[in-house]
């Protein structure tokens, strides 16, 4: 009897080991490359946040000094605040727009291939071109199209958009949604293909209307996709850099405190001042925030999976 049990145990252990091995064999091709060339340097870089280093001279361990420095720096605090504000608005709006577009373009519509391509366009188009068009619409001059609209239709005073501290973040957020929603739409479109037509048919038989179908079928079925989109959006929002440089930097590349974002600050610290430790410390802050958001999402997903 006892021997039988231990044999069973052994058997189970062997199976578990085999299962692990099979799983590792799936992961290995990607993971080895990833671990050596990306994860390694990243871990090293994050350790740098406790050191002073300029890329050449000897590294010096400085404890928490880098963190004390950045949290005492107006520009860092401003960039942290701007990044959080930017993400808080951009993530939900982009998410909603992308989902809306995807659902719209997943219907039987003539020329939907055309519309899908067009929606993806601002994402792939040259940033210079997209920003130039945007600046034509939202020019700080009174003659700009949007300002004309504000003045003549809404009887409001014209705004200076990207040129004013009070509206620059708003301008960047709107621009970002416009430029990136097509990208996330593609992900949602792919996700929508995974939902079985039969679920809708069954619900239709039960007399569910379109809204009920959306709430009870589409949304729950899209959960893994939404998890992905939310996390990628959050990460990309926290890593926003080039559109800020383009819109707020303009022709002289001067981005002031009203539009500074974390990665811009990191870039300045790393490559203008060559304070790689301080840059890493800022990145670690960014990393920590995103990690918390991811963990919360992850837990949510786990719960869903267990349902």
């Amino acid at each position: 009897m006892a021997a039988e049990i231990s044999a069973m145990e052994k058997n189970m252990k062997r199976r578990a080991r085999k299962r692990n091995l099979v799983a590792y064999s799936f992961i290995a091709p990607n993971f080895i490359g990833f671990a050596v060339f990306t994860l390694g340097p990243i871990v090293l870089a994050l350790l740098l946040s406790f050191a002073e280093w300029d890329g050449s001279n000897a590294m010096k361990f400085v404890g928490l000094q880098n963190f004390i420095n950045i949290f005492g720096d107006d520009r860092f605090l401003a960039s942290l605040k701007n990044t959080v504000v930017y993400s808080l608005f951009t993530v939900p709006v982009t998410l909603a727009m992308a989902l809306g577009l995807a659902i719209l373009l997943n219907q039987k519509i003539k020329g939907k291939e055309f519309f899908r391509t067009v929606a993806f366009f601002p994402y792939v188009a040259s940033l210079v071109a997209v920003a130039a068009v945007w600046n034509m619409l939202f020019t700080p001059a009174k003659g700009g199209i949007v300002n004309q609209l504000l003045m003549n239709v809404f009887h409001a005073s014209p705004l200076k958009w990207a040129a004013s501290s009070s509206t620059v973040m708003l301008t960047i957020i709107m621009f970002s949604v416009w430029k990136n929603m097509g990208y996330y739409m593609v992900i949602y479109l792919a996700g929508l293909q995974g939902i079985s037509e039969e679920l809708y048919e069954a619900a239709g038989l039960d007399g569910a209307n379109a809204w009920q179908k959306f709430i009870n079928i589409t949304l729950p079925q899209l959960k893994p996709t939404t998890f992905f989109v939310t996390i990628m959006l959050t990460i990309n929002c926290f890593k926003v850099y080039d559109i800020v440089y383009m819109l707020a930097g303009g022709s002289n590349g001067v981005v002031n405190k009203s539009a500074m974002v974390l990665v811009y600050y990191i870039y300045e610290e790393a490559f203008r001042n060559w304070k790689l430790g301080q840059a890493s410390a800022s990145a670690l802050v960014l990393f920590a925030i995103v990690l918390v958001v991811t963990l919360i999402q992850f837990r949510g997903e786990k719960n869903y999976a267990n349902d």
Partner: protein, 462 residues
């Protein structure tokens, strides 16, 4: 399935290939490429032999005759006319040396160079230094070879650089030798002055006279505006006008002196004399495009714009500013005319350079008298300047023929846009930010200056 995807990718490659094939097939069609560099290249080799500088070479462990290949980090190979002539001139005198250009691109040059020089694995022998903050950060990183001993050993006369080398000396040591120096001048469009019946700007104007002049040719009629002046969005165009009296520097931590200049330009902006900063900034209009529209009467800008103007007018792109001229920068009351801002481009030898001695010899050559003549013959102002050089530049085809334009190239004092300071890049950040706020009229001039003082003093106190 995977095969299908792969095959569609393959199909795509073929599309790409066919596009590129079309492109190269079309290649021979357009004749005569602009910006041919042969002309200077041909005359250059003849010169070095005549120069005395060669004698100094002996003590510097005379580079042996074994073949050496120098790797030179630089930017804009395809659009810079003097690299190849400089190399040709040098290799003509040193047949055993070959020079390989490595283009790191201009937009992110300092970032890429800094990364390449990180650690000690770089194999560059000579690196070009683009700006002073970039220079300071490389010096701080300890990746540039100090040149003092070599300068002393080879008897290089630093006084020929008009004091510029003093402004980039860090803790008594020099780590770069400038070979190109651009000065700021006032460009103007003669046609506008002719049409308005106003006399041209002169080489001796005070700022008040300049302001009056700009206003006198301004026309604010909507649709056919004439702008009396144009300031590109850089802080240099306004802030630095204040240092030309020689009483202040940009790294002192006190910026009261910038006030009259901000007030002058803001008033001009308000009255439509110049274009609005906010619009210029967001619209991304390059100063060359602004001047090329033919409705900008005067513009303060660096002498690098001379070569662009000549080239673009020759190419037929600029048709509305073909009749241009330059004069010296306006000056403050009671100060001699001819003080101006300058920007230098320099060469340095990395500590990791495989061929330091030959590299230094090359740097010395390019920055020295022989290099200077090659530079001038391509229409660029060398760091080491004299009358002969001015003649060479003013004699270029396409350079304005009036005497005032030639005279404008002669300077009395030049001040670097940013002198070498340990904190150059951090100071610049503060100054840029307040410049932006002042010009956007988000803060008053006084508040902006107060913020500059506070910010920079905090940095200096660290």
């Amino acid at each position: 399935m995977k095969k299908r995807i792969l095959s569609s990718l393959l199909a795509m490659t073929m599309v790409v290939a066919s596009i590129t094939a079309c492109g190269s097939a079309a290649e021979p069609a357009p004749a005569a490429e602009p910006a041919k560099t042969d002309a200077p290249a041909q005359e250059a080799p003849a010169e070095p032999a005549a120069e005395p500088a060669k004698e100094e070479e002996a003590p510097a462990e005379a580079p042996a005759d074994e073949p050496v290949n120098l790797k030179w980090a630089l930017w804009d190979v395809s659009s810079t006319v003097y690299y190849q002539p400089l190399i040709d001139a040098y290799t003509a005198a040193h047949p055993n040396v070959s020079v390989e250009m490595v283009d790191l691109g201009s937009t992110d040059y300092s970032t890429v160079l800094g990364t390449q020089l990180s650690g000690s694995g770089s194999d560059f022998d000579v690196v070009t230094i683009k700006d002073v903050p970039g220079y300071v950060s490389l010096v701080n990183k300890g990746v540039l070879e100090p040149l003092n001993d070599r300068i002393a050993a080879d008897g290089v006369d630093l006084s020929l650089y008009n004091g510029v080398t003093d402004q980039v000396t860090i803790d008594g040591n020099l780590y770069e030798l400038p070979f190109r120096s651009d000065i700021w001048v006032l460009f103007y469009n003669k046609d506008i002055f002719d049409a308005a019946g106003v006399a041209y700007p002169t080489n001796d104007m005070t700022w008040d006279e300049y302001d009056k002049l700009a206003r006198s040719v301004t026309d604010t009629t909507a649709g056919s505006e004439i702008y009396g002046s144009h300031y590109h969005t850089w802080r240099s165009t306004i802030q630095l006008d204040g240092i030309l009296d020689g009483k202040n520097t940009i790294v002192d931590g006190n910026y009261e002196f910038t006030k009259p200049y901000y007030e002058m330009v803001l008033a001009q902006q308000k009255d439509g004399v110049c274009m609005d900063y906010a619009t210029l900034k967001t619209q991304g209009l390059h100063y060359s495009a602004a001047f090329a529209q033919g409705n900008v009467a005067t513009m303060n800008m660096g002498s690098w714009f001379i070569a662009t103007l000549i080239q673009k007018i020759k190419d037929g792109e600029y048709t509305d500013c073909t009749n241009w001229g330059i004069v010296k920068y306006p000056h403050a009351d009671g100060v001699e005319a001819g003080s101006t801002l300058s920007t230098i481009t320099a060469l340095a030898v990395p500590t990791s350079a495989p061929n330091k001695d030959v590299a230094w010899d090359f740097v010395k050559f390019v920055s020295g008298a022989e290099g200077a003549e090659v530079m001038a013959s391509t229409g660029n102002i060398p760091a080491m300047t004299n009358d002969k050089i001015v003649d060479l530049i003013a004699g270029m085809d396409g350079f304005p023929t009036d005497d005032a334009s030639k005279e404008a190239l002669v300077t009395s004092h030049t001040y670097l846009e940013m002198p070498a300071n340990d904190k150059s890049s951090e100071i610049e950040t503060v100054l840029n930010e307040q410049h932006d706020l002042i010009m956007n009229e988000e803060v008053s001039v006084d508040d902006g200056i107060a913020a500059m003082n506070e910010g920079v003093q905090a940095i200096l106190a660290q």
